[in-house]
Assembly symmetry: C2
Amino acid sequence: MNYRIDGLQYANWSEKIFRQMRQGGLDAVHVTIAYHETFRETVLRIEQWNRFFEAFPELIFQGFTAADVAKARETGRTAIFFGAQNPSPIEDDIGLVEVLHRLGLRFMQLTYNNQSLLATGCYEAEDAGITRMGREVIAEMNRVGMVVDMSHSADRSTIEAAEISSRPIAITHANPYDWHPAKRNKRDAVIRAVTERGGMLGFSLYPHHLKDGSACTLSDFCEMIARAAERYGVQHLAIGTDLCQDHPDSVVEWMRVGRWTKRIDYGEGSATNAGFPPMPDFYKDNRDFPNFATGLASAGFIPSEVEALLGGNWHRFFAEGFEPK
Amino acid sequence: MNYRIDGLQYANWSEKIFRQMRQGGLDAVHVTIAYHETFRETVLRIEQWNRFFEAFPELIFQGFTAADVAKARETGRTAIFFGAQNPSPIEDDIGLVEVLHRLGLRFMQLTYNNQSLLATGCYEAEDAGITRMGREVIAEMNRVGMVVDMSHSADRSTIEAAEISSRPIAITHANPYDWHPAKRNKRDAVIRAVTERGGMLGFSLYPHHLKDGSACTLSDFCEMIARAAERYGVQHLAIGTDLCQDHPDSVVEWMRVGRWTKRIDYGEGSATNAGFPPMPDFYKDNRDFPNFATGLASAGFIPSEVEALLGGNWHRFFAEGFEPK
């Protein structure tokens, strides 16, 4: 089936964006509902989504299982799957993993740039790997069917997570470091550790992750995917756009500093480039998702591979990852 | 189908009690998970239940829909349905109704003895009826499929709730005031308002609700049900034992005073009878549930009526009440 699935977005969602998802033919989108939010604050985000689901039932609904992707296609809607980019929603309470899974959380990053209770983030100077609680939480996530996402984690922590997890894990949104050496992009050994165990890499469109940044071309982006497919196998690759649409800079600041510092931290930006950089021309928003099909075909992928990269691989991974064991 | 369903329990649950549920042939039990708990505290109760479900999968599992009662029967287990005896779990946030429904909350009392944000409790001197927020929450409960339970509410509030609710409501655990004039038992006009609109009354075994208290006989209890069936129709009646097993008195105190007073309040007890009174001989715990079948037959009910009273009516009500509209 030629599903179209985006493996990560964090937008200032609105009817406009939901309509753009439909225009882009998105059957499913993994949306971030928490960066630094506590459990109660995460529930408030879920409440906001519930209002969206009630207000726009002809455009979106909440996805819980891979079968909901098929349901989305059949009913001409987009299934929205929840994820957290940080373990802050579970606080120090492992019991919240199952509670949040029941509420639909299907992905959780073990870190967001910084050290967490579970693992080390990609901006820390030292990476001590998976913590005691981290091992317990990975086992619990494996049990209930919540995907371990290491997009913002450090190398050793990511490799250990792939080894410890009894289910394949994901890097939902990043690119190979070899292609563009950003702090958030992933080194070969890291991508291998994840994909060799059945895990997934979703390619990101966040300009700081792209060669030439906002000026990156569709051709360059799809060539990167072609090289990755040769190394890691096309079945482990997909798209995770990291679309961050319509947000004011204050939200970018929340993502970067939360409550963990009183000073501003520019993340992958800088004082002179503090805001969110412009998206590349070939992917401005959900309506451009079909451009990837064109680009991937030009990069030499056959139609069945294009289908796998645009959604088939995520769909298989959702089916393997979301149900309790 | 001859289902056996208990419409309310609050016990100090343990493997022992779950085994007693199986010995009593209970297919489903509505269990109280909150009296005065905030949202976060209620989630902690759910986490405790998740531990039980994980530890004793051969005895119990969480029920979400009426179909889970059939699943319980087929698999020889007891389906556990969550309820709250107070709206404290939703705090002042209507969005928590849907969140808690997703987590399995299928009943919520609008009050527990005292005035709440939604309605007036049965111990207040003045009953001003359903509040502004109460009307909104009833509509939301109707939408998502959460049963309005008025067991501990005052008369006017209960009658108004029955009128305002677009779905039948319940008094899960109480007896007719005419039979035993306890503050928590229900006057004829109240029971009529509920049952005439398709609602349910579950008969309680809490000794303070019984004629002759702990000395009440099975015959007297079932005669009361027979008289109620003549007045209100057997299809609106069932059992809600209010079983409060193995709790220390400190828990009875929590139920009665929560954090709303610094003084002790004895509820239906007194300073000289502060603890939980002994249960009547014919119903000590779940193992005695089959005694009701014998007693109801002796009181003149035909087999199909006995089946309806022991579980068939609750099953129908669950089917009508638990799904979103």
